[in-house]
Symmetry: C3
Subunit: 180 residues, 3 copies
């Protein structure tokens, strides 16, 4: 910092310079906080999804939110949440982990890239799926915090297994632990 002071106390210029640097700093810090808040929103979205906490899941989106999961399109939050609630019910285990956040904040809007790894296991159908995908999301700042405005991904690959090929495969559901 190059502020200069006169002999008789700080000049108005020095304080104005300091005020301007402080404004810049506040903007930078707010961006870092926004980025972290958006990451936490994404984590809550995926945590409630995999926990089948559909009310919590719904609250991650604004009502007008849209979705596009590689062509599986939703025009609003109600359609998106209803689909998940109906298709990812009990008897179906999911893991959705989003990595590599690249978040850009512009005022009250933001965009996010993510790299998904996901897994679906439906033992009744001897079915297991795993895949990777790149997400491109849009977020909106609301009075209650950041919310998802659009979420969508494009698959990098998707593989499915017939669990009949793995007779020794055993699945235990939430809250079970084999280490004990």
């Amino acid at each position: 910092m190059t502020a200069r002071y006169g002999r008789c106390g700080p000049s108005t210029g020095a304080v104005e310079y300091l005020a301007s640097v402080t404004d810049d700093l506040m903007a930078l810090v707010r961006t870092e906080r926004d980025v972290r808040a958006i990451c936490e929103l994404k984590y809550r979205y995926l945590r409630t999804l995999d926990s089948k906490d559909w009310d919590g899941f719904e609250q991650c989106f604004v009502p007008e939110a849209t979705g596009d999961y590689n062509g599986l399109v939703f025009d609003d939050r109600t359609a998106l949440v209803s689909y998940m609630r109906e298709n990812l019910g009990e008897g179906l285990v999911t893991l959705h982990q989003a990595h590599h956040p690249e978040i850009e904040v512009a005022g009250d809007e933001a965009t996010g890239r993510w790299y998904l790894y996901d897994r679906v296991i439906v033992e009744a159908f001897s079915f297991m799926l795993e895949g990777g995908a790149f997400y491109t999301d849009r977020y909106l700042r609301t009075p209650d915090g950041w919310r998802v405005l659009h979420t969508g991904y494009r698959r990098t690959f998707e593989a499915t297994y017939n669990l009949g090929d793995l007779p020794g495969f055993k699945l235990t559901g939430p809250g079970v632990h084999t280490h004990k």
Copy 2:
């Protein structure tokens, strides 16, 4: 910033306002740094675990640290570290990767949520395990940096494989690479 200056130099009010904003900023920045330090602690905990660096692993915890891995309970650090040292020795490959940090700092304490993906391979027993879990941790600020006060998770799923079902499965241990 709305600081106002008098005709004859900056007012005491302007500087006091600036000092108060600077205090707020310092608190915000410190929180971001604490969050990152806690993430790095968790990464060191899992890196030393998967590297079987038990001394480094032990140093991630305060002595009174407790653990609860879905019912596998430890009452202090000694019990937790001893269990890992005895049960995750050579001949057993582990991968523990923690995702989706949701960290909240309150003074010298903090809480953390994480979404684990883990894998255990014991070739001698033709055994492979993979699973997901949500961690709920508590952390303590010490003179040497943040340390784990409690770590625990609840499984979302756990699957085990009999490697006898996969006769073409080949495992190579640390430091081996098939690309070359």
Copy 3:
């Protein structure tokens, strides 16, 4: 903050103290921004790798960049990028996800640790590989942003599968989705 003000307006000392705190703050905030920028560089590097966007991949490195993937050594960017372009072409699906960033910034250089999970699938050879590794990277600040100066990892494990053991295995490539 303990700044003191005289009766007749702020003292030079108070403003100097504030300027010094503001300098410290700016340094702290810049470090957080650098850490995030380096993470985003790593994510771009892996995103362009798995997308086979070789021009974008090349731009993540300085020309003199070196690589050491557990003994698979490259002496400059040209050698590294050429190898990837030739060996990770169409017909080969890759997933490289880097977790657990531990980044240290020192001026215009930085180091980074990461914990990789990766997967390679080559259906034509009934081949699937998965593994873990710890990366140790070095980064350089350039006029165009941070770039990779050195990247290298050491395997924690590597497992290969013969997809002939899994006759029900089905792979679909980029942009395909079975949910619909």
